[in-house]
């Protein structure tokens, strides 16, 4: 009796979850649809612009906009979710925006201004500053100030750092207490990753002196991994596009570049200026080879930066695009919205799994390439006769 019950559950639970998904998407479509049934102009408007509002069509939008509150500007929606913001928008129920206002910290000639971003809501001006297109600008037009605000990405980074510290410190504490025993709990999830980074990434790439670089490699790997995963969670405290912010990836790449340059041995720099095994006429009188190698020195961290940024941002754009597809189709026809929602939700679920893989993979690739660059930088000189 118990055996056969369990077999049924195998099919019941996934079906139930799928039905939940479809029902949820359908309910969202119905609520998005209600205000826009009145005007017929909507159809032309939706067909006319599908991404960014252009100046020419905004005049036609004006009369229609008073009737429909839920017209979807897919491009703007996607950009809002990708970009940084001064408040953390959690939900919009009806007309109420539920968001957490984050502190604005501005340092200018008259000192340090710290205030909540709720003062700058909806274009108000406060202490001479206002928010325009997501950025803070001064009312009188000068830009001689430093915007050190805690924005959404900064707050999300703090959350990820807090999670990292909590997990890693508790693991370190349990190692100290129990010694080298079989791991339990969160340790059994993190320990294989640490061993993986050490045995598959650090030691093969760097060699004997890997211990000096292992803390940095582990930090980079877990920081990127945790931030990627948090970015995939659609509700607070996840959902902020941290590693898809090119400033953050630029800093990470700069760290790798700095460590590579500062720990590089003399052979490394000599190989750049005077690459062995290359004919002399490539180096003198026109130093083609040194220029190519120098470009390589700068392009390697640059590529690190762009690879991580583009992968994560593209993943978020794809998922947001699939969700927006539901609403774009729903505005034309409610039935179409329902139909597309099944396809869209299925596709988004599949893309979410892919994004999980990408989250881990991009962290791994960043760490692997950093380890490779370190290994190349500290490579000992092996004389040519041995070849």
């Amino acid at each position: 009796m118990a055996r056969s019950n369990r077999k049924i559950f195998r099919y019941l639970i996934p079906t139930f979850i799928i039905l939940l998904y479809v029902g949820y998407a359908g309910v969202k479509v119905v609520y998005a649809n209600e205000p826009i049934k009145e005007t017929q102009q909507n159809v032309e408007n939706v067909v006319a612009d599908s991404s960014v509002n252009t100046a020419e069509t905004s005049a036609e939008h004006k009369p229609a906009e008073e009737h429909k509150e839920a017209k979807l500007d897919a491009g703007k929606l996607i950009m809002e979710h990708i970009a940084d913001a001064h408040d953390w928008h959690i939900a919009t129920i009806g007309h109420n925006h539920i968001s957490i206002p984050l502190p604005v910290i501005i340092k200018d000639a008259s000192g340090l201004h710290v205030f909540s971003s709720s003062h700058l809501h909806e274009g108000e001006v406060y202490q001479g500053y206002k928010i325009e297109e997501g950025k803070i600008i001064a009312e009188n037009g000068n830009d001689d100030f430093y915007d050190l605000s805690i924005t959404k990405n900064v707050a999300a980074m703090f959350i990820a750092v807090f999670a990292l510290l909590w997990i890693m410190l508790s693991i370190a504490g349990s190692y100290k207490r129990n010694g080298i025993v079989a791991p339990k709990g969160i340790q059994s999830f993190v320990e294989p990753l640490i061993f993986f980074i050490r045995d598959e990434v650090a030691i093969p790439s760097i060699g004997k002196k890997y211990e000096k670089y292992l803390p940095y490699l582990l930090t980079i790997f877990f920081f990127i991994f945790f931030n990627n995963i948090f970015g995939l969670i659609p509700f607070f405290p996840g959902g902020a596009n941290v590693t898809g912010n090119i400033s953050i990836t630029m800093i990470l790449a700069l760290f790798t570049f700095a460590i590579t340059s500062f720990s590089a041995k003399k052979e490394y720099w000599i190989h750049i200026i005077n690459t062995p095994g290359v004919p002399w006429w490539l180096k003198f009188p026109v130093p083609l080879m040194p220029i190519v190698e120098l470009i390589g020195v700068f392009s390697k961290p640059f590529v690190l930066m762009v690879r991580l940024f583009a992968n994560i941002t593209a993943g978020h754009i794809i998922m947001l695009g699939f969700f927006s597809l539901i609403f774009i189709f729903a505005e034309m026809n409610t039935g179409l919205g329902f139909g597309v929602s099944i396809f869209s939700v299925a596709f988004t679920t599949f893309m979410s799994f892919l994004e999980l893989l990408v989250a881990f993979l991009q962290a791994y690739v960043f760490t692997l390439l950093s380890a490779l660059y370190f290994g190349m930088a500290i490579e000992e000189h092996h004389s040519e006769e041995h070849h």
């Binding site: 991404s51 950009m79 598959e200 690879r307 940024f309 583009a310 593209a314 690739v365 692997l368």
Partner: protein, 86 residues
């Protein structure tokens, strides 16, 4: 005369920039597809020849695929810049 008209439109009309962005993104997708297809194909061939090292091959295949995708994403980023930055 009509050729000149078309050329004049192509030079001044801002919509052509978006068409270029679209074509560029498509070409990037083709490039990524060809590259990763070749990587997958040779990985499968090697696994068929020597199934016991399939774990090693799988790891290397994924790394190479990530690097090739990085190049495709360069093109995507440039196309996004064309479309969304005034």
């Amino acid at each position: 005369m009509t050729i000149l008209n078309i050329l004049l439109q192509a030079v001044t009309d801002p919509g052509f920039a978006k068409m270029g962005a679209g074509i560029g993104a498509g070409l990037a997708a083709i490039g990524a597809g060809i590259g990763i297809g070749r990587i997958g194909g040779s990985a499968l061939e090697s696994i068929a020849r020597q199934p016991e090292i399939s774990g090693d091959l799988r790891a290397n295949m994924i790394v190479a695929a990530a690097l090739v995708e990085g190049a495709a994403f360069f093109a995507i980023v440039v196309c996004l810049l064309i479309v969304f930055v005034k």
